[in-house]
């Protein structure tokens, strides 16, 4: 069962077209990766799904054409976007950030349970629950951003460069939590990641973007077997 499908999606900022026709699909409970160099259009692809850029082509989610939906409507459908740069609300406390994440939910009990889940996944946040988000370290902010997405109880998480700017050990811890989230909750994901090793630790299949077009796609193992992928992204 396909959860998300992009067909020939284009996107532009003003007059500059950044995506020139991208297609891929993500199954229910599956995780897809988007790899590629800087400026290839990875972040823009996620933004197109969330309705943050002018978009052409067709984006289908759960059988519904969501092309051009506003970000808040996309979120209301169960897509949680962890944006590039984390997007934590700096002047709000960690707890308030998490409450904002659950803004659309009405089930108080479920929200409380998910709060526990988040604090269990990221014990650091439990200690900092009352601090302003701007006072957190980069790694803690990334954890908070992911936790905020979890609080929405999404069916699909869009994860943008979760390891960016983090120390390798911190990045590992963040991805450990993401893997746990995958295995325990079965949330579908689209993962954008510079560090292909980390991406491959989560996703089952992936596409590679080059200047706004899909240049390769395949299952995790297929891609990992390809020389060009190994050379470009796996350092070997």
């Amino acid at each position: 069962m396909t959860l998300l499908e992009l067909e020939d999606v284009t996107a532009s900022y003003g007059h500059a077209q950044v995506l020139h026709g991208i297609s891929f699909r993500v199954g229910e409970n599956a995780a897809a990766g988007i790899l590629g160099a800087n400026g290839a259009g990875k972040t823009t692809t996620l933004r197109a799904i969330s309705g943050m850029v002018a978009t052409g082509g067709k984006i289908t989610y759960d059988g519904r054409d969501i092309t051009g939906y506003r970000p808040d409507k996309v979120a209301a459908l169960g897509i949680a976007h962890v944006p590039e740069g984390r997007g934590t609300l700096g002047d709000l406390s960690v707890r308030d950030n998490l409450r904002v994440g659950a803004y659309l939910r009405k089930d108080r009990k479920g929200v409380a349970a998910d709060l526990d889940l988040c604090l269990d996944l990221f014990p650091n946040l439990r200690e900092r629950i009352g601090s302003n988000a701007s006072a957190l370290s980069g790694g803690e902010q990334q954890m908070l951003a992911i936790a905020r997405a979890i609080m929405a109880k999404p069916r699909l998480i869009l994860l943008d460069e979760a390891s960016l700017g983090l120390a390798p050990s911190t990045a590992q811890r963040v991805y450990q939590a993401i893997r746990r989230l995958r295995s325990e909750q079965g949330v579908a994901m689209v993962v954008v990641e510079q560090n292909a090793m980390l991406a491959f630790s989560v996703v089952d299949h992936a596409i590679v973007l080059e200047t706004g077009k899909t240049s390769l796609s395949g299952s995790r193992d297929e891609l990992m077997g390809l020389d060009e992928v190994r050379r470009a992204y796996l350092g070997g």
């Binding site: 944006p83 997007g87 609300l89 904002v100 803004y103 929405a152």
Partner: protein, 293 residues
Amino acid sequence: MEYFIQLVIEGLATGSIYGALALAIVLVNRATGLINFAQGGMAVLSTFVAYALFDAGAPLALAILGAIVFAFALGAVLERVIVRPFERGDPDTAVVVTIGLFVLLGGVAAFFFGYEPRQFPSFFGLETLNIAGVFVSLRSIGTIVVLALVVVLLQVLFRGTKLGLAMRAVADNPVSASLSGLPVSWLLMIGWGLASVLGVIAGVLVAPQLFVSPGMLDFVLVYALAAAILGGLDSPQGAVIAAWFIGVIENLAGAYIDIVGNDLKIAVPFVVMIIILIVRPQGLFGRKVVVRV
């Protein structure tokens, strides 16, 4: 001593009026990053609505309530229709937009009601109380109490409700907030509507003294802007404290410093503001000093 206390209380009362408008300015600045010079114009127009309703025979409380509803709608509509395209753009242009609105709204009020000042009754009685030798008018006390109530209500709204949480989130980062499903567009309109309501509260409080006319709040607006900036622009508490400070210092300087006198007392808060800004460009309670809880 009694005279001194009297002056301080009167200063707090005028400061409370500046404070209501200063809160409006801070609210709008936090929500949309703009300094809204039109805040005064919105308040004047809404105060005229209160006047018109009262003039048409409505009880005072109802007239004020009607004006509050009108003010909310006015603020929300102006944000959506006129200000939205300029938000998060070039701030200088945005300032000019709000200046244009300021002129326009004054013009609308003048067109419908003319420039002749009109009398407006006070919500509080005209009695003066004698508390241990200190004479204070009921109006002064009422004004201070109203502002204190407003501050408490705002605190409850922002700290204790989901709507307040959402408004804080949007003020912090609208793009990121929309990713959690917050209806940013609506929340910005509500923010402006609320600010506009604070403005009409200032207008109704000051109307019995200054009468209702298109220019009635020009000076109050300038004081309020000074208070908002002095308070650090993003701190509601700071704005109120700065507004009280301005009201009191103006009153005291006018009474006790001969060279200042009644005519020059208006200059005092601005001279103080300039000095403080030069020493602390972020204002008394700007982001750098106060860690908000």
